[in-house]
């Protein structure tokens, strides 16, 4: 009974809306987005509307949505008006809580004070700004469209527009990046006093231009040991600045964790809309087509633009839950850990994990090995 009740309380779904447009494709990015497409935003919005309506007919959303997240791509390419249209579609079709968390991912090169004000008026209350770096040389390497000084300007404008919950995304572990270069970005970010900071290590085992250049040896691979040092240093500096290291790559001031993302890690249902968006509903994972034309085409035929889905076995579900919960500083209840408690000992003695409030939780050093530890524990 208790468990059921807690389910009812915590399982508030999230809505994710994928905006698949970018000004220019960054060479490290493997999200789905299009930089030069003949598809216009209004055309996309028409298809999105159809998807929203079809979903509302076909899916039973368990409860009013608690979080809305506009990701991409570059959602900040949307005008305030376009954003407002989408929110209307959503409200028409889905139950949404009275005070939802509404996040928009924003590229500093696309923000104007007017746009920010408009967003704010539409009810957007969280801005996640893709700063990535405060060094222009690094921004060039990453192929970003913005300059370092645009970041602080964006943050200031957002504050003026009334945003009280701003997150900055940073990337580290570039080839040849030194710890001191990384420090510059972290310190500059801290000076802007965001409520939330995400720091992502550059992923290069993928098919992106930078990934391929590293794999082919054309660019040096980021040194694992140096990247790990940067990671641990970041954790320390941000924690001492008052941010909780609440997930592998995420830091927040008290009360400012990203509720939407927390849903992914805690097994909350979510509905993803737009090309390549993922959903998790009724213990089933599914994902949309990763092509905007195909997406529009399917919806013109009044078909759901779903590319694939999978029903998880019990074992898969458990494995997933373990791996996802371990990513959070809240960890996992001890009684949910499979197997012999003795096998935890090495993690404690190596300083990779600790027990807090009856939960097994990783330390920052443990976070660095979270996948390996999850596998160990799953045996």
């Amino acid at each position: 009974m208790f468990i059921l009740l807690s389910r009812l309380i915590t399982i508030m779904p999230g809505l994710y809306i994928h905006i698949p447009f970018c000004v220019r494709k960054c060479p490290y990015c493997d999200f789905y987005s299009e930089a030069e497409t003949e598809v216009s935003i209004p055309e996309f919005l028409r298809a999105l509307r159809t998807e929203i309506e079809l979903r509302a007919e076909n899916w039973i959303i368990p409860d009013p949505a608690e979080t809305l997240f506009f990701g991409g791509g570059t959602p900040s390419l949307l005008s305030a008006n376009q954003l407002s249209i989408i929110l209307h579609y959503l409200r028409d079709s889905f139950a949404i809580q009275e005070f939802p968390e509404i996040t928009v991912e924003a590229n500093p090169g696309t923000l104007s004070p007017e746009k920010l004000e408009g967003y704010r008026q539409e009810g957007v209350n969280r801005l996640s700004i893709g700063a990535q770096s405060f060094l222009n040389a690094e921004l060039d390497f990453l192929g970003r469209i913005h300059r370092a000084d645009e970041i602080s300007r964006s943050v200031r404008a957002a504050r003026e527009a009334g945003f009280g919950n701003i997150g900055l995304d940073l990337i580290f572990g570039l080839p040849d990046q030194t710890l001191s270069a990384w420090r510059v970005s972290v310190h500059q970010a801290l000076e802007l006093e965001p409520e939330h900071i995400s720091t992502y290590a550059l992923t290069w085992d993928n098919e992106t231009p930078i990934g391929k250049r590293i794999q082919s040896g054309e660019l040096p691979a980021p040194d694992e040991s140096r990247v790990s040092d940067m990671y641990l240093w970041t954790s320390e500096i941000l924690r001492s600045a008052g941010y909780a290291h609440y997930e592998v790559s995420n830091f927040a001031r008290p009360g400012f964790r990203c509720r939407h993302n927390e849903g992914y890690w805690t097994g909350r249902p979510y509905l993803g809309l737009g090309p390549s968006a993922h959903s998790f509903l009724h213990e089933k994972r599914s994902w949309n087509l990763r092509d905007i034309r195909e997406y529009i085409h399917q919806l013109r035929l009044m078909k759901l633009p779903v590319e694939g889905e999978e029903e998880l076995s019990y074992a898969q579900r458990k494995m997933e839950r373990l791996a996802l919960l371990l990513r959070r500083s809240d960890g996992i209840p001890l009684d949910e850990l499979p197997g012999n408690p003795e096998k935890l000992d090495p993690f404690f003695s190596e300083g990779l994990a600790s027990i807090r409030d009856g939960r097994f939780a990783l330390t920052p050093r443990g976070f660095l090995l979270a996948d390996g530890i999850a596998l160990r524990l799953a045996d």
């Binding site: 992502y200 290590a201 990671y231 090995l369 390996g372 799953a378």
Partner: protein, 633 residues
């Protein structure tokens, strides 16, 4: 296995004529016994690839035992693995009817022999069932060491040897050189050497005529008590052990009570028969004949190769030359998942039904848990068994470092044979350790003698002598500790001689050597499954190479892994595997959990091939690391 074999025969597309011919002959077998003077029992001695199978095919075709159309595959070696390795492991036999130029009908029994050093004893028993042998030499390759040793075996068994130079069609054929080699070796005249192309079908008639003319008929006493030689046996899940026999004296009849002399066990004969492409029952096998015997024998161990079958009521003396199969190489086989121990036992038991040389007993290792200590005839035999367990019985195995058997003398005067380094008594209790030695012949082109002598010296070889087979080929005679050649010696021999040198050996005796146990410590704990017994002078070298190899094979883990080699309490080599610092997906973006889970599942599949020893995960292949070590570097 048997199922496979049967399927294979089913695949042969019979033509109608052959079918009826065989049917008629089958009748003939039942009704008439061939006169002893008209029987020829022979085998073919050849180095691998010199053309034994091809020649056998041609003989079978020429005597209509099979039709050319049906000869898509060579008939004699039929096990998949053998085919892949090009080695005939298990001997079989087949009978052919031949009307010779003298107008008489002959029964030719071709007895196949296995072709690898690991199986010398089996070869000798097959040869003992014959009166003659075709010695097939590749015209482009000449005589090889293994062939020589089989020639010696044939001579010991007083076989008439018919020399055949095969592949005379090859442009690279050196007929004259090979002719002289053979003349020197066998002391025969040039005209006695057949020149054949099995591929082109040249000289086949001549070969059959020579067999009839030169190979003596069987010489047994038909009125003496029964003595039949088992030259091979196989296991059939429905019929039990099937022994392939050659009747030396007397007669073997259906319903006879027989006795196997080595075990003394008696059985009633259910079925006897002759061997065509399949088994063909007859009422009796007479003196000199070759066939099979089924007597409700449940265990292949009761039909040992080389054993004598005699009448239970009127037993005769054993035929000479019987030997219990003797494993020379021992290794631990462990299920990678300890829950699968019963399956592994079951698989080994079933394999044993078909392979009487395979022995095993339970073993327990601190590192690997429960498994089996398995004895093999040689490293090739080990590989075959390992492969069959994995392929046919779907076992995932951890195989430990192979070793020979040591004779260990303790201070208290006791002597024990030890086939597992982990079982070696403590140093203080040891008086001395003796190791098996072999007598080895290496045949090589003269140009590589220098290389090979250096290799032999590295492997603690004791030089006996060297002799020239012809102006370009040398026979090097050495004695070696068996332990020095079981791993990679054969490969080294080949690479030091560009593939030309060949090797043959026989066990001679045990000799005392300064041997020590080399232990491997992982994070300070000795891992028993990695221990090995090494010569004192080589301990440091082994220690270094083994720890380095392990370092390459053990993936980085969450903590540093220290790898050490020790002799007693003394650490002689150390290295470590640095800790893995980072293993985490940076971002689980936009709820794409599927991708992350797939990555984890992939990593997990990789872990399946790991064995957890203490806190360290060791990949299965690390337990055989020693086989990957290049000692000559």
């Amino acid at each position: 296995m048997l199922v496979k074999q049967r399927n294979k025969y089913r695949n042969i597309s019979w033509n109608v004529k052959t079918f009826f011919t065989l049917l008629l002959r089958g009748k003939f077998d039942i009704l008439h016994a061939m006169k002893m003077e008209n029987i020829r029992n022979f085998s073919i001695i050849a180095h691998i690839d010199h053309g034994k199978s091809t020649l056998a095919d041609r003989l079978l075709e020429a005597t209509h035992a099979v039709s050319p159309q049906s000869m898509k595959e060579q008939v004699l070696d039929s096990m998949d693995l053998e085919r892949e390795r090009g080695i005939t492991i298990k001997a079989h036999a087949i009978s052919m009817d031949y009307t010779a130029d003298d107008g008489q009908d002959y029964l030719l029994n071709l007895i196949d022999t296995p072709g690898h050093v690991d199986f010398t004893y089996e070869v000798s028993r097959s040869l003992a069932a014959c009166e003659g042998a075709l010695l097939v030499i590749d015209a482009a390759q000449g005589i090889e060491a293994q062939t020589m040793s089989n020639i010696y075996l044939a001579m010991e068994n007083e076989l008439h040897i018919v020399p055949v130079i095969n592949k005379i069609d090859l442009p690279s054929a050196q007929i004259e050189t090979v002719t002289h080699q053979i003349m020197d070796l066998l002391g025969v005249d040039e005209h006695e050497i057949l020149k054949v192309s099995a591929k082109a079908g040249l000289g086949i008639h001549e070969t059959l005529e020579t067999i009839v003319r030169e190979v003596p008929p069987p010489r047994g006493k038909s009125d003496a008590p029964l003595r039949a030689l088992i030259f091979d046996s196989v296991f059939d899940y429905y019929r039990g052990a099937i022994a392939y026999v050659r009747v030396v004296d007397g007669q073997l009849r259906r319903n006879d009570e027989i006795r196997f002399l080595s075990s003394g066990k008696t059985f009633g004969v259910d079925e006897i028969g002759v061997l065509r492409l399949d088994r063909r029952p007859v009422e009796a096998l007479h003196t000199g004949e070759v066939g099979y015997l089924i007597a409700g024998v449940k265990n292949l161990k009761d039909t040992k190769v080389g054993d004598t079958v005699t009448a239970a009521k009127n037993p005769a003396e054993a035929l000479p030359g019987f030997r219990e199969p003797k494993p020379m190489v021992f290794s631990g086989l462990f299920p990678s998942d300890s829950d699968e121990l019963p399956e592994l036992r079951n698989a080994l038991e079933r394999l044993q039904l078909n392979d009487s040389a395979l022995i095993f007993e339970p073993e327990s290792s601190v590192a690997l848990g429960f498994g089996f200590r398995v004895g093999f005839l040689g490293l090739l035999h080990l590989e075959i068994v390992q492969e069959r367990l994995e392929r046919e019985y779907a076992q995932t195995l951890i195989t430990t470092i192979p070793n020979v058997e040591y004779r260990v003398h303790k201070k208290d005067g006791s002597v024990a044979l030890i086939d597992n380094p982990a079982a070696l008594p403590a140093l203080q209790q040891l008086e001395k350790i003796e190791e098996p030695y072999i007598d080895a012949h290496i045949v090589t082109p003269a140009a590589y003698v220098g290389n090979l002598m250096k290799l032999a010296q590295d492997r603690r070889g004791i030089f006996r002598n060297q002799s020239y087979l012809d102006p370009t080929r040398v026979n090097l005679h050495y004695e070696f500790p068996l332990a020095e050649i079981i791993f990679d010696f054969y490969d080294k021999l080949k690479s030091f001689s560009r593939g030309y040198a060949s090797l043959d050996y026989d066990l001679i005796d045990f000799r005392e050597s300064p041997l020590q146990k080399l232990d491997i410590l992982i994070n300070g704990d000795s891992v028993d499954a990695l221990s090995m017994i090494v010569h004192r002078d080589k301990a440091y070298d082994w220690g270094n190479k083994l720890t380095q190899k392990l370092k390459d094979l053990i993936p980085r883990q969450m903590y540093e892994v220290a790898i050490q080699a020790s002799l007693g309490s003394k650490i002689i080599a150390r290295t470590n595997v640095k800790a893995l610092r980072k293993n985490v997906t940076a971002k689980c973006y936009g709820g794409d959990i599927t991708r992350k889970r797939k990555l984890l599942e992939k990593q997990k599949a990789g872990k399946k091939r790991m064995k957890q020893v203490g806190r360290v995960e060791i990949p299965q292949e690390a337990f055989l690391a020693v086989l990957q070590i290049n000692r000559e570097e």
